[in-house]
Symmetry: C2
Subunit: 232 residues, 2 copies
């Protein structure tokens, strides 16, 4: 049976949410039927968006290396990173360990194409996720278009993530609706919630049907790849 | 700054709840102000009540040793175990590592005496917690009386923990009220919820004022001993 490793704490709230979702979606009726997991909740990890936008990523990669190697040493058989932005560093992180790391953005795009027949995918995430093109590359590889919010709407997304959720407040759902409306108006047939803070918003305050949560896909992959049955 | 180690997964739901509570009660407004934590969610840990009642605890102690030592190796400065029953093995677990392990039952009793002036404390927990006298010893050391439910009411507590919460169902609050009423009738001036599954019940479905949650006390101790500010 597999053991799931988690490089988490980015932010801690999102990792706790991921942990709860893994438990809720594992087909189990007693403790011992659940997954064994090791969660490194590295709240002190340098800010990912800042590292990407400034190129100042040495310390961040050092910590990622330590965490990945610790999870390998502890016998983890699969690694999940419940933070979309961090996947900018996916190739480096995977190079630090022989344990397979789930690529959340690729899995989310693949899910949007497979289950919704999406051809034009909108992405809501941090500036780091959007500007670095993590999702644009995943979409390109899948042969679909990627649409990101206009600068004004992207500022709304950042405000929801940093000023609302990460600071422990409810999301401004008026801003959330403005972003969704713009992406739909620009022809998106699916919108990926590409930031774990937005998954928290969706759970607590809801989100339109057109939104597909990258976290949901990560949860399912983490359970299935660890040899457990996923309960939708 | 401290790093909190958690021996968890007993059950996973309770550990996820503990993790969320630590985040919610840490005075922080951005990721980097939160605690660094390592959570070993060892769902496959043998059942604690079973180990205590049968004396068959070799495998359980082996796993506890591995987890405690892994947390020490990863630089944890304090260890929390969000499972009351496991504290039956407290002395052994503490002997496996030089990192201080928080004693949840002692801290909970001390809190009941300090903040409520309790002289007669009722305890709701698993058969393992109740029959092993973990709380009875903590009460004795604090110079107060310990009252446990009658066999019929203790069966109600076990049913709430195993058939309801651990199996993913809501608690039968009629049974919960029967237990509380009995303990109050027998003169208890405080009732300690001494099982993390009951903390989950309290959060989701509520509990009378007379109930004091051992988990709350563990959360505060974990935050404060890791050098962060506790936010009530």
């Amino acid at each position: 049976m597999g053991k799931l490793g988690v490089i988490g704490g980015m932010g801690p709230e999102a990792t706790a949410f991921f942990y709860e979702e893994v438990i809720a979606h594992t087909d189990a009726s007693r403790d011992q039927e659940h997954l064994d997991m090791v969660i490194i909740s590295q709240a002190s990890m340098p800010d990912r968006t800042h590292a990407i936008l400034t190129g100042n990523d040495t310390r961040l990669l050092e910590v990622m290396r330590e965490d990945a190697q610790a999870l390998e040493t502890l016998g983890c058989t699969c690694i999940a990173i419940p933070c979309n932005t961090s996947h900018y560093f996916y190739d480096q992180i995977q190079s630090f360990t022989s344990v397979p790391v789930i690529h959340m953005p690729r899995e989310a795009v693949s899910e949007a194409v497979r289950t919704r027949g999406a051809r034009r995918i909108g992405v809501m995430g941090t500036d780091g996720t959007v500007q670095s093109g993590i999702y644009a590359r995943a979409c390109e590889a899948a042969g679909v278009e990627c649409v990101v919010p206009s600068p004004a709407r992207q500022a709304d997304v950042m405000s929801i993530i940093y000023e609302n959720v990460k600071a422990g407040h409810p999301a401004d759902m008026r801003k959330f609706a403005l972003v969704v409306d713009e992406l739909v108006r620009r022809g998106c047939d699916a919108i990926i919630l590409a930031c774990t803070e937005l998954s928290v918003v969706r759970r607590r305050q809801g989100a339109p049907e057109t939104c597909l949560d990258a976290m949901d896909v990560l949860v399912r992959e983490a359970i299935v790849r660890s040899g457990k049955l996923y309960r939708p």
